[in-house]
């Protein structure tokens, strides 16, 4: 398998050996095993038809999937067709059951990327051997080395770093390729037992949906895709599902035939807009103003669901007009509690403590438009107003004409949109993370959620505002945390007692879940040790250097100052702390350098002090900067399960179909081998237990023993690990392992015990589509926020400083300087992040190169024609790219779709203009429901509101 052989001209061969039937060439440089093919099968040639028939033949079929964060479109089960030891094609298994007779089934699920992964793994980007850098960093000079040599070097460095710099100077960067299956199990166990740092990258990718977290205490929440069938109005707002939810798109087009209206709100007439009944063109970054405008129309005309607001939201809660804080029990009663809040009861006209254990109102009628005076226990009198009263006042700022001016949406269109929303009985949204990649994305999302709340559009079939879809088998978390299976029970007991104890004190199970997850961001949690990826790169990579204070008129101080203050106050945990220098960085299943905004700056600052090890199956923007490149097995060459989303609530499996190509190895095996080598070297050096800066023990001489659970899960046992993860999962339909391998998927039965998904607050029932938040709306379980209600008012000092107590519109800052064009982006149709970006087949089906979409008018102004070379620049940097003239791109906007590799640009790269400025409100980690958690409560990265100018370059200039 290892020799590189030339492509064989099978058809030429056929010409020579006439009368025999040859198999087609499988395009690959690695197809050495194909050489004997012609001899193996040589039925007599009868007609040309046999040649065609011969192409549709195979040795075996294995169920597989792709271990990639395609997020909304995950859970595609494929048949992987193997011929002569290589995967030659794949076709959807397409055996998902229909949930019930009302709704379309999920078949066949898949997309062009999944359908060409068999091409990807044998294309020239594939890594087959361990490589060691021999030239300057970034110079693309490599030496092929043995696994032995690579492991030796890496284990030495690992051990030295643990001893000399501390365990927190070893960093594991995971990325969108992470599976929550055997890859995650591998690196998380290795990191766990060496107390290395794992970067949580959710908010760093701009996906944290902070606005949702601010409103409901979690960024999670999504429906199943077939639940859209019960919606009568779907708003595609800040999303382009025709590109990014390819296997789900039929639910929208079919819902339309079923009578559902679809409205797309977007600056450009994008592919999803073409599938809509109405497209609302909007000026980029002004979606918050539109939402507020709609809210104003709804409130003004009284088309609001008052009962919902009274029961489920903070709208009736009272706010002190003197301080801007919620009126607390401790204000009114000496010795009262800080976390009990008041409303005015209409029935008794009395100041009333809002129920805290439940949302049930027990006969109270909380007054929405309260404005009164209360006497504090100090005798002082203060004026208090309900949140709704304050909201009404601030909504006056959003008159039709004003909103129309900000957003570029006509008054008639806003009215129409409002009417459609007001007339909808089941309103849903299609979410993605475009708006959250804007500096004020949180404000936009809060305003959107307010529209849904005003209409009471939560908790019934076909309704709900979705933010962050996610579901996984809950076997992973315990598997990564425990030294052996026997202590699993102990872990469960420990968790159980935490829950019981805290719930006795009145805490919500949902909050307890988040807190347990959050403990992983601090030492001594007993869980794999995490830190916020965004904060890590911001601080250690010096990203604040790239931004200027005067971009955002609301900033009182330099971003760096906000950051330092927040760190000093302990609002955000950061490991290693600012003073320390990361020494060893692993990029696993991620294209770190491609992913990070401002990465050139970060690389320049950090990489000189690092050993960088990349584990991947393909060369990319990140391998260029690595010291070691370790070849990972591709997703058809190993066994693992993957996370998915409730949009498609199926746990999906990939089963090893062929041997790993060349010398590549499954990630689990690589991690096991590193663990083994560290242990071996530690023993050679006579090292045993060390204690890190935080008093955590690391058993250097037992790293592998712990990793492998005493040898139970050895380097070659990735399938056994996959089986363990499945069987330990309480929330997945159970069947014998071999049956699951044959079937390829199993339906989720619930959200289970995974901390991240607790916020969905709903059930997964057989025969039912999934509607989120029913535990709140039906069972009246409180929301996991400070006030235990959907919370639109935030009384944290930094929100007050930034004037963001209530949802509002703020003009986007001048990110990159004052330039006339907003450079927006979106995930591409033809690639998942960068994974297919330079795949020759995908390039054949696009333009072969990166391109920037520019509207007719803007192009004309600048003398630009289709295909011209452009320079795109701002105060931060610049890059060169070719122009694509697209009449559907909005004037004032240019679009470069996501994740082109650095080497696809002839000069610079698309991230050279994106500084991703820090938004200080995101540092507010001391707030009761904005403290750090897996995925949220952290700072985010932004690039969708970057400003640039473009100029035409002479055609042939370099």
């Amino acid at each position: 398998m290892t020799a590189e052989i030339k492509r064989r001209g099978f058809l030429k061969m056929l010409g020579m050996a006439s009368g025999t039937l040859a198999a087609p060439s499988f395009t690959t440089q690695a197809a050495s095993s194909l050489t004997s093919l012609a001899d193996k099968r040589a039925p007599a040639y009868q007609s040309y038809k046999d040649l065609w028939r011969e192409q549709w033949r195979w040795d075996k079929v294995v169920r597989g999937t792709h271990l990639i964060n395609c997020w909304y479109q995950a859970a595609c089960s494929w048949d992987v067709y193997v011929r002569d030891g290589l995967v030659y094609r794949e076709e959807q298994a397409a055996e998902y059951p229909q949930t019930n007779a009302d709704v379309p089934d999920f078949n066949p699920r898949g997309c062009q990327k999944g359908c060409s992964f068999s091409q990807r793994i044998y294309d020239p980007t594939r890594i087959r051997y361990p490589l060691k850098r021999v030239g300057e960093r970034g110079s693309n000079q490599w030496q092929r080395v043995s696994w032995d040599e690579a492991l030796d070097d890496i284990a030495e460095k690992y051990l030295d770093t643990l001893l000399e710099d501390g365990s927190d100077c070893v960093i594991w960067d995971q990325g969108p390729g992470v599976d929550m299956g055997t890859t995650s199990a591998g690196f998380m166990r290795l990191a766990n037992f060496t107390r290395a740092i794992i970067l949580d990258m959710v908010s760093e990718t701009g996906d944290s949906h902070r606005g949702a977290a601010e409103t409901i205490g979690t960024c999670g929440g999504e429906r199943s895709a077939d639940d859209f069938f019960y919606s009568d109005l779907i708003l595609i707002w800040g999303s382009n599902p025709v590109y990014t939810q390819i296997p789900n798109a039929h639910f929208f087009t079919e819902a339309r035939y079923n009578g559902t209206k679809i409205i797309t709100i977007a600056p450009d007439y994008n592919a999803s807009a073409t599938k809509s009944d109405l497209w609302v063109p909007i000026k980029p970054t002004t979606d918050g103003a539109l939402a507020m405008g709609i809210c104003q129309q709804l409130v003004q005309s009284g088309r609001i669901d008052k009962n919902f607001l009274r029961e489920q939201t903070d709208m009736p809660l009272l706010v002190r007009t003197d301080s801007g804080d919620f009126l607390k029990e401790s204000d009114v009663i000496a010795g009262g509690r800080d976390h009990r809040f008041y409303f005015m009861d209409d029935k008794t006209d009395k100041l009333t403590l809002a129920p805290f254990e439940t949302l049930k109102l027990d006969g109270f009628i909380p007054r929405l438009d309260a404005d009164t005076e209360v006497v504090l226990h100090t005798g002082e009198k203060v004026r208090v107003q309900s949140v709704f009263q304050q909201l009404k006042r601030s909504l006056r700022e959003y008159s039709l004409d004003k909103v129309s001016k900000i957003t570029g949406v006509s008054e008639g269109m806003i009215r129409r949109l409002t009417d459609e929303i007001a007339n909808s009985k089941a309103l849903s949204n299609v979410t993605s993370s475009t708006l959250t990649k804007m500096y004020h994305g949180n404000l936009i999302e809060r305003a959107q959620m307010l529209v849904w709340a005003l209409r009471g559009q939560y908790g019934h079939k076909g309704s709900g505002f979705s933010a962050f879809p996610f579901i996984l088998g809950d076997g992973l978390e315990p598997f990564t945390a425990t030294p052996d299976l026997a202590s699993l029970k102990e872990l469960h007991h420990k968790m159980h007692s935490i829950f019981v104890e805290r719930m006795k004190q009145g805490d919500l199970a949902e909050q307890i879940s988040y807190d347990i997850g959050a403990s992983a961001f601090y030492p001594n949690s007993g869980l794999p040790f995490h830190t916020s990826g965004a904060l890590f790169w911001m601080v250690h990579g010096g990203m604040t250097d790239l931004s200027k204070k005067d971009w955002d008129p609301y900033l009182q101080k330099d971003a760096d100052q906000y950051l330092t203050e927040a760190l000093d106050k302990g609002w955000q945990p950061l490991y290693p702390p600012k003073e320390k220098t990361p020494r060893l960085l692993f990029s696993i299943s991620t294209n770190t350098v491609r992913r990070l905004r401002g990465s050139k700056h970060i690389v320049k600052k950090m990489w000189p002090h690092l050993m960088h090890v990349v584990m991947d199956f393909r060369m990319n923007s990140t391998t260029r900067y690595a010291d070691y490149v370790l070849p990972s097995a591709a997703w058809y060459e190993r066994t693992s399960s993957r996370w998915s989303t409730q949009l498609t609530p199926f746990y999906t499996l990939t089963t090893k179909a062929t041997e790993p190509l060349g010398e590549s190895k499954p990630d689990w095996e690589i991690c096991a081998l590193i663990a083994e080598r560290i242990q071996q070297k530690a023993r050679q050096r006579g090292l045993t237990r060390i204690t890190n800066d935080y008093g955590e023990d690391i058993h250097l001489d037992k790293v592998y023993d712990l990793f492998s659970m005493g040898g139970m899960f050895g380097p070659k046992d990735d399938e056994k690990v996959a089986q363990a993860l499945y069987e330990l999962s309480s929330n997945v339909e159970q069947m014998p392992w071999e049956e699951l391998k044959q079937k390829g998927f199993a339906r989720y039965t619930g959200y289970g015990n995974a901390a991240f998904t607790a916020g969905n607050m709903t059930d997964i029932e057989p025969g039912e589509t999934i509607t989120q938040f029913t535990h709140h709306t039906r069972d009246k379980v409180p929301w996991a926020t400070q006030t235990r209600r959907m919370q639109f008012y935030l009384d944290h000092p930094i929100y007050k400083e930034m004037q963001e107590q209530l949802p509002c519109h703020k003009d986007a800052p001048n990110v990159g300087g004052k330039f006339p064009l907003v450079m927006s982006s979106g995930h591409a149709r033809e690639s998942i992040h960068s994974t297919w970006r330079d795949n020759p087949l995908m390039l054949q089906l696009t333009r072969g190169q990166p391109f920037l979409c520019i509207g007719t008018e803007d192009a004309k102004l600048r003398g630009i024609e289709d295909g011209d070379w452009l320079r795109v620049y701002n105060d931060v940097g610049g890059y060169e790219v070719r122009a694509k003239l697209a009449p559907s791109t909005r004037p004032g906007q240019v679009i470069i779709y996501h994740a082109w590799e650095d080497h696809q640009f002839r000069k610079g790269s698309m991230r050279d203009v994106t500084p991703s400025p820090l938004n200080p409100v995101e540092l507010a980690g001391d707030h009761p429901h904005l403290k750090i958690a897996f995925g949220w409560g952290q700072i985010g990265f932004f690039d969708r509101d970057t400003l640039v100018e473009v100029e035409r370059l002479p055609t042939k200039a370099q």
């Binding site: 040309y48 699920r109 997309c111 007439y269 159980h496 309480s730 015990n753």
Partner: protein, 374 residues
Amino acid sequence: MSVNQRQVAMVMDLNKCIGCQTCTVACKTLWTRNEGQEHMLFNTVNTAPGAGTPRNFEQMGGGFRNGKAQSGQLPTMADWGEKFELNFDEVFYGGESDMPLNAKTGEPDWSANWDEDVGAGEYPNSYYFYLPRICNHCTHPACMAACPRKAIEKREEDGVVLINEDRCRGYQFCAEACPYKKIYFNEQKGVSQKCIFCFPRLDEGVANACARQCPGRVRFVGYLDDEEGPIHKLVYKYKVALPLHPEYETGPNVFYVPPLSPEMIDDQGNPTGQDRIPLSYLESLFGDGVKEALDLLKSERAITQTGGESELMDLLISRKWQDLFGPFSKHPRDAERLRITDAADPIKMFDPQLATTAVEEETQIVRLIDPANS
């Protein structure tokens, strides 16, 4: 010229096509992966209005007019769009920093999907949709009429049009004559090649790869004369599925449900209630039946909107995916000739007792959040 007994056909619903190219890739990886076929895409999806594949094929002639064969052009490699040969080795292992990925054949200036999502019209009233195309397996194939070698046959059992590569000598008269320009030339083999309607799959009762692998659930496959099947109903009963360029007079057996479109916007930015894709443009593609088809789609949709029943809407929705494929709904795995034999006995690796106890305890915890119990 043989007369086929039955005709297999395809209906493509343009309201469901999302331009994702999964059909293109499914076809490519199955049928045109060999040397000489690099540029071939038996199945294409292009943005319409647009140049299509090959570039400007609608201006290349061919087909018939009043029964008379029309002369046609042969598309060039540049019209098809080449597969880019890229310098990966130089980029990754060349020893130079910042070496960009380039096409060895020079800077790309066309490809089979170059004008993706460009369309026509001016912002905010620009418009476009996706037009997937395969060989139309015509009732009167111009290619067949033009072949001096009689190397093109129409299968008796299903009307699938095939190029007999044993007879073909690569003259390419067929490619000139085809008005849809769906015939490629294989220089390695010296023969013309085109979509085979996945006949090896059809013969096994399995739907075409482009249809079965379409995540948009766009394509119906079946016999045109099957009165109970969706194709017959869509084409003849409801007349919402129309042939592309019927004026070419070849009698295509691929039919399209024409696209609805979002409302036009007036000068003030207000919605107008008018479709944004000009009817005349759609009629130039699908003939005179477009208006009636669109009107029927709208009126039937108005019925479902108010909770009523509509057979047409149900057909187009196809809640059960398999209903798209009628007699060709067999799973490809069941057609396989080399079966997996290594299925082992199910083994449970872990003590189920341990897992169950733990899980039950956790479940109780979750149930505790019911406020009634707290």
